[in-house]
């Protein structure tokens, strides 16, 4: 059972495993893999806790209800699954600043956290604008041959390549 404790698998093996997983989510749960709706639902739950039931009147939350559903549990499961994988390979560790960031911008936690919040905000805003993320459009949409999936996936990478070049090409 070396493969369970090995820190990295071949990317092709991982891709095939995720592809097979996508058969079963469709077959058993009638759902494609996707993640970003969960963050919209959670944002709605948090706003509802603060501001009360009037939040539910927002047209967005009429369409995407702030409730726990299949995908919400999927995302919770992903945290657990990744945790199990990293514990089995003995690579779990608490880390504030990734190595690549530290080399370019130093190992202080605050700058990294501020950029992570800004990046996360653009990511969440963009994912809900585009109605999907790297999983929902990038993997599930493209395999369904959806035009929306292919266009989104291409623009995810165009935006990502532009910003990564600015960050590490000019600012680092």
């Amino acid at each position: 059972m070396n493969w369970l404790t090995s820190p990295r698998w071949s990317p092709y093996a991982v891709g095939i495993a995720i592809g097979v997983l996508s058969w079963f989510t469709l077959l058993i749960s009638q759902k494609p893999l996707g993640c970003s709706t969960t963050f919209a639902r959670t944002a709605g739950m948090i706003e509802k806790m603060i501001r009360g039931d009037k939040v539910l009147l927002r047209p967005y939350y009429q369409k995407t209800k702030p409730v726990i559903d299949w995908q919400w549990m999927l995302v919770v499961g992903m945290v657990i699954g990744s945790f199990i994988a990293t514990v089995l390979s003995g690579s779990f560790s608490l880390q504030w600043v990734p190595a690549r960031w530290a080399t370019a911008f130093g190992d202080a936690a605050i700058p990294r956290l501020l950029v992570a919040v800004l990046g996360g905000a653009l990511l969440g805003f963009g994912a809900r604008w585009a109605d999907g993320c790297t999983s929902g459009h990038g993997i599930s949409g493209t395999m369904q041959l959806a035009v929306s999936g292919w266009i989104s996936a291409i623009f995810f990478f165009i935006g990502g390549i532009i910003m990564a070049s600015i960050l590490y090409g000019w600012l680092a």
């Binding site: 090995s6 990317p11 093996a13 991982v14 891709g15 995720i18 592809g19 079963f24 989510t25 893999l33 993640c35 969960t38 927002r58 967005y60 409730v67 299949w70 549990m73 919770v76 499961g77 992903m78 945290v79 657990i80 699954g81 199990i84 990293t86 690579s91 779990f92 880390q95 504030w96 600043v97 990734p98 690549r100 956290l113 992570a116 919040v117 800004l118 990046g119 996360g120 905000a121 990511l123 969440g124 805003f125 963009g126 994912a127 809900r128 604008w129 585009a130 109605d131 790297t134 999983s135 459009h137 041959l145 035009v147 292919w150 266009i151 165009i158 935006g159 390549i161 910003m163 590490y168």
Partner: protein
């Protein structure tokens, strides 16, 4: 459609597997994702394209057998290209996407768990606030509905799937 307890349990089980695979693929790591966006490390694309080829053949075969229904998402240029671009800028700043950020949390990465989650929730909530101003405007610009590539090209879906899979396998073979 009502969510049942068994839906929730299956969601959790599939999520555990998805998170496990992503971690083993290395794509829950900031350095791997940034390496991809800087076009130095092609792990992310290798994982995604292998998943797409495998998934594409399987789900269309199952559809042919009448086992599953496929519901492509509707979209528009204003929605997918503009939203995709905003997403991409955030993708590079955060260094995780909404799925891999969950995996990164499980890995113990605190930039993902604290900065990333807070940011994504903030951005998602903000979109919900401005949504009424976008929904009748830019989100519908250049709409194509739930069009698929075979419908666009007016051919049988296997006429798209077979060459596309061969092309993806060729790209995977050529990637460093």
């Amino acid at each position: 459609m009502k969510t049942t307890r068994s839906d929730l349990i299956w969601g959790l089980v599939f999520g555990i597997l998805f998170g496990f695979f992503l971690q083993k693929g290395g794509v829950t790591q900031y350095d791997v994702i940034i390496g991809q966006l800087l076009l130095e490390d092609f792990t992310v694309i290798k994982v995604m394209l292998s998943a797409v080829v495998t998934g594409m053949v399987g789900i269309h075969l199952m559809k042919r057998l009448g086992w599953v229904r496929i519901n492509p998402k509707a979209g528009s240029w204003g929605q997918n290209a503009v939203g995709g671009l905003i997403f991409g800028l955030g993708f590079a700043l955060l260094g995780y996407c909404p799925g891999t950020v969950a995996g990164a949390v499980g890995n113990g990465y605190l930039d993902a768990a604290i900065g990333g989650l807070a940011g994504i929730l903030l951005g998602s909530g903000l979109l919900a606030v401005v949504y009424p101003r976008l929904s009748g405007g830019i989100l519908t610009k250049g709409g194509y509905g739930d069009l698929t590539l075979p419908q666009l090209l007016k051919v049988n879906e296997w006429v798209v799937i077979v060459p596309l899979c061969l092309l993806i396998v060729l790209v995977l073979y050529l990637l460093p």
